[in-house]
Amino acid sequence: MGKMFKLFAAVTIISLISGGLLAAVKNGTQERIEYQQLKFVKGPVLKDIFKGAANDPLTDRFKIAEGKNEVNCFVGVFDGKKNTVALEGFGKGFGGDIGVLVAINIENDQIMGIGVTTHSETPGLGARAKQDPAFTAQFKGKTINDPFKVKADGGAVDALSGATVTSRGVCGAILSVSEAYQRLKPAIIQKLKEKA
């Protein structure tokens, strides 16, 4: 019985120490890891849609709690004012969810730019949504409240040829951002004021 106890104690103690150490390391690196993940997954897109911003939208980000979820908001500074936020939304594409970041000017609700972050669309067809600047450029300058729909569905958006489903997915993602934006706008403005 004493022997059993010894074996039990050895493994328990080692596991406890290990658990404690790992919790500490995880705590210490969490913020940096999050930053790095955002930087390498969303960084290039953010740079693109925030062209000309005077700050790093990655560092000037904040979270808004919504129910159980937290929404990441990236802030862009233009003309010396924090007047642009980017939100990410998802839409159903051909190969899975498409993530789209939409930068919105909060003064006039205009879209400053959109960019695809994550997708699993067909290379050469749907994947062009990420690479073809002509496709994403058409959203620029529209208001976020527009009902974005591809032309095949009676809307005004030029779909990528051969990739209607993808284009529909991108529109869906923007619509979901639009919904979130309208819901969260007061909270966003509040946060921006606190930070300014």
């Binding site: 074996l7 080692i14 150490l21 890891i33």
Partner: protein, 198 residues
Amino acid sequence: MAKKSVFQEFSKGLWAEVPPFRLVLGLCPTLAITKSVDNGLGMGIAVTFVLVCSNVLISLLKNLIPKEVRIACYIVIIATFVTVVELSMQAFVYPLFLQLGIFIPLIVVNCILLGRAEAFAAKNGVIASLADGLGMGIGYTLALSALSAIREILGNGTFYKMAVFGPGFEPFRFMVEAPGAFMCLGLMLCVMNVIGKK
């Protein structure tokens, strides 16, 4: 085993018992990630760190760990260090982490680590275990770097992402594919054996 000096414990990992070629251990990452030199080097350094830390700690604790549960304890210790490496890589060298992906957590089950813990650190002193871990780790790093250098140069025409041949060079893509890894490793084992025989 006759008593060896600390230097001998260190240097055996560099040639006489270099892990992937002589002990033929840890082949899974050896084959999978040696597509480019930075991957090979990064993996080697990660393994070296874990190997040194776990060797030292296990040799320190060898009298406290009951031998019936030693494997479980070794695995917990190794897994702890591997997770530390994984988190630090995510925090500081995220692109490399993306490249190495699943092979970082898989260091836990890499035979080199448990092999050295069981065969060496559990029977030897702290200094000798440190030397052994360092030697094995550096040997592993060198082996991975050599293998990945050959594969990257022939298969991609680059070394450390810099082009080594003129624009006329047609990359030998086979070398960076999986079968190329086996061929390359086999040939290197063959060369090592030929040199070792003399």
